[in-house]
């Protein structure tokens, strides 16, 4: 792959995987159709050919096995990077993530650890079949001992995935399918990781803080553009790591703007947006000029393709919310 050519997010994932497989012999990639097929989204394309079937492992159709054997591999000092084919099929693996991966270090007082990554495509918007449009990051973000990371651009996918693989603890790494191929940028294969556990300020502004992650940042940034055209200066924050959460960046921003709109595709009720708003209602309360708004997926099952656009946060909905915070002042 040409290092300076612009690549997509899924290509950036592929590049990060290849980089770590080459750099660290303890890294293995495993999952359904990740080998010969190269992954249903091509995220692992070419890896089998380069690193062989022992390190790029096609597994049986067994999510419990994939997650559980990753725990075993990680406890043995390997660095498994497991792919779950779609987030809708990650739930059988949750038991392993919650009862084991997130706890192995704690329950052995550091004797064993679990440096594993579980990657899964997430989100709606690609007209996929049923159960292929999930945004259930809450389920993982609530589990102590897990990191949950969602990239929103090719460069962040590359840098954050490197960081996730190198992290000594388990990371759930969720890749929004809607932006897998939507934008391209140059992502030199420098092997430089981006920091986990911190938000990225994508755009600075002074009137309102827009907080989002993953694919919804597209509409969030579009809303910021539209607000700019109206003379409103919006700061846009990419949370990136949903657990543990860098509230410092968000609190600082809201201390400046006094207004906050949180945008996520996941269902609203007990979404990660709730945690951010709750922190604002506590530590940030005195800085708030206006109610904290959340623009989210609705609290219903993500509809199939025909209606999915109506489910996801649109630029219009974000604008409505942002304007509401501005009017409240």
């Amino acid at each position: 792959m040409n290092d300076t050519a612009e690549i997509t997010l899924v290509e950036a994932v592929n590049r990060a995987l290849a980089h770590e497989l080459a750099a660290d012999p303890s890294v293995v990639v495993l999952g359904e159709d990740v080998g010969v097929c190269g992954g249903v989204f091509r995220a692992t394309a070419g890896l089998l050919e380069r690193f062989g079937p022992e390190r790029v492992i096609d597994t049986p159709l067994s999510e419990v096995l994939i997650a559980g054997m990753s725990v075993g591999l990680a406890a043995q000092g390997m660095r498994p990077v497991a792919e779950i084919q779609f987030m809708g099929f990650i739930y059988p693996a949750l038991d392993q993530l919650l009862n084991h991966a997130s706890r192995l270090r704690n329950r052995t007082r550091g004797r064993l650890s679990c440096p594993m990554v579980v990657r899964a495509p997430m989100g709606a918007g690609i007209h996929a079949p049923e159960h292929h449009s999930e945004s259930t990051e809450t389920l993982f973000a609530h589990i102590p001992g897990l990191r949950v990371v969602i990239p929103s651009s090719p460069a962040r996918a590359y840098g954050l995935l490197l960081a996730a693989i190198r992290d000594p603890d388990p990371v759930v790494f969720l890749e929004p399918t809607r932006i897998y191929r939507l934008v391209k940028e140059a992502v030199p294969d420098t092997g430089e990781a981006l920091p986990l556990d911190v938000c990225f300020v994508l755009r600075s502004g002074s009137d309102v803080t827009l907080v989002s992650w993953g694919a919804a940042l597209r509409e969030t940034l579009a809303a910021a553009d539209a607000l700019a055209a109206e003379g409103v200066s919006a700061e846009v924050i990419d949370v990136a790591t949903l657990a543990p959460l860098d509230m410092t960046t968000i609190l600082e921003s809201v201390a400046k703007t006094g207004r906050c709109v949180i945008v996520h595709e996941a269902a609203r009720h007990v979404g990660v947006g709730a945690e951010i708003a709750a922190r604002l209602a506590d530590e940030g309360l005195l800085t708030l000029f206006a109610p904290v708004k959340r623009v989210t997926g609705y609290d219903t099952v993500v509809p199939l393709a025909k209606l999915e656009q109506h489910y996801m946060p649109s630029t219009e909905r974000i604008l409505r919310a942002a304007r509401a915070t501005l009017e409240a002042a």
């Binding site: 159709d33 049986p60 609705y298 509809p303």
Partner: protein, 384 residues
């Protein structure tokens, strides 16, 4: 007292002669059944039902209908009029025999590739298109012949297997002579759900027929990489169930096995596992390109075993079928498919707010504002 026997012992040899100390406590076998050879010629005396031209012709007709429907669905997807679609090309014998062997009052719990079985049971082509077109109404089974209690297509692999146990438990509890038919793929047999379901069905001796449609592939995973088990039918042994293999491209063999299993289950004999050996001639779905992971030769070799061709050859040999009938059938099926496509395309769009309609029996007070907000946003957007 020694601290660690293991250190001192590792080097020692263990005994080899077990003949005296051990005895056989259980024994199992798996059998494979085929009635028609590849040319459609009977390999032996056929079961009685196979002498009924009406039945055999009907099975054949449904196979052809499914093939035409399938082809059309793929064409619709290619032209942007349908979402991702999983073709069942090459698997028609199995799917048709499953659907045809079941009684109306039985319940089908299948995957996304049992289109033929669904159609026979009364699901409408229009509905199946709606579903793959991205509209939940496709699983409402609202047609006049609809199998109202059949489960919707199950996409999360093997997760419907435990449902079959619950359905069959209800049958048994209510003393209804009905059977739950659970259809899974070869890939699905690797999932714990399938195993837990088989085990439960056997514990309560429930009327469940598990059909493993072994089409050789789970997306890119060939059957041999899915499990080291010599057959998938032997998965049944783990649950104490009888398992068997049949030629899944031999409509008569599948139908025969289904009827035996259904009769046994209906009579209180408990669950049964059938592994039908067939081949997925198509890509996994329209989103897949199977050339990435399998050779053209492999596909060609299996295309030669085409179940439609085989049953047609048999019917022709038996004098049950003719070129004229074939032509008429294609015309009829083609027309029905076209009609269904027209109905599908003409189906009025749903209100976006309907996404809240069936979340609960009644939308809770706490969620009504969300439906209203959705409608308000729609109105505003439409006004602009």
């Amino acid at each position: 007292m020694k601290a660690k026997p293991m250190d001192t012992l590792t080097a020692r040899r263990t005994g080899q002669d077990r003949t005296v100390a051990s005895e056989r406590v259980a024994q199992f076998e798996i059998r494979y059944t085929q009635f028609l050879d590849e040319e459609g010629r009977p390999r032996c005396e056929l079961p009685p039902f196979a002498h009924d031209p009406e039945l055999l012709v009907s099975l054949y007709e449904h196979m052809v209908l499914n093939r035409l429907f399938d082809r059309k669905a793929v064409a619709l997807q290619r032209t942007g009029q349908l979402g991702t679609y999983p073709s069942s090309l090459g698997q028609e014998a199995t799917a048709v025999a499953i659907g045809a062997a079941m009684a109306r009052e039985d319940v089908l719990l299948g995957t996304y590739r049992e289109t033929a079985a669904m159609l026979i049971r009364g699901v409408e082509m229009r509905e199946i298109l709606l579903y793959w077109g991205g509209d939940e109404r496709g699983m409402a089974y609202a047609g006049p012949r609809a199998p109202k209690e059949d489960f919707p297509i199950s996409v999360p692999i093997a997760t419907h297997a435990p449902h079959a146990v619950g359905v069959a438990y209800a049958f048994k509890l209510r003393k209804e002579p009905r059977v739950a038919v659970c259809v899974v793929g070869d890939g699905a047999t690797s999932k714990g759900d399938f195993y837990e379901a088989m085990n439960g069905a056997a514990v309560w001796r429930l009327p469940v027929v598990f059909v493993i449609v072994n089409n050789g592939w789970a997306i890119s995973m060939p059957r041999h990489a899915q499990s080291a088990a010599a057959t998938l039918a032997q998965k049944a042994i783990a649950a104490g169930i009888e398992g068997e293999q049949v030629d899944g491209n031999d409509t008569i063999a599948v139908y025969d096995a289904m009827r035996r299993a259904l009769d046994k289950a209906r009579a209180g004999g408990g669950p049964h596992v059938i592994e039908a050996l067939t081949y997925r001639l198509s890509d996994h779905t329209t989103a897949d390109d199977a050339r990435r992971y399998r050779s053209a030769e492999d596909v060609e070799r299996h295309a030669a075993l085409d179940p439609v061709k085989r049953l047609r050859a048999h019917l022709v040999q038996q004098g049950m079928w003719s070129a004229a009938k074939e032509e008429a059938l294609h015309a009829e099926c083609g027309a029905r498919v076209e009609q269904a496509v027209r109905e599908y395309l003409a189906t009025p769009a749903r209100e976006p707010a309907s996404m809240f309609d069936h979340l609960f029996a009644e939308l809770p007070e706490a969620l009504r504002w969300q439906r209203e907000e959705l409608s308000a946003v729609e109105r505003e957007t439409n006004d602009e």
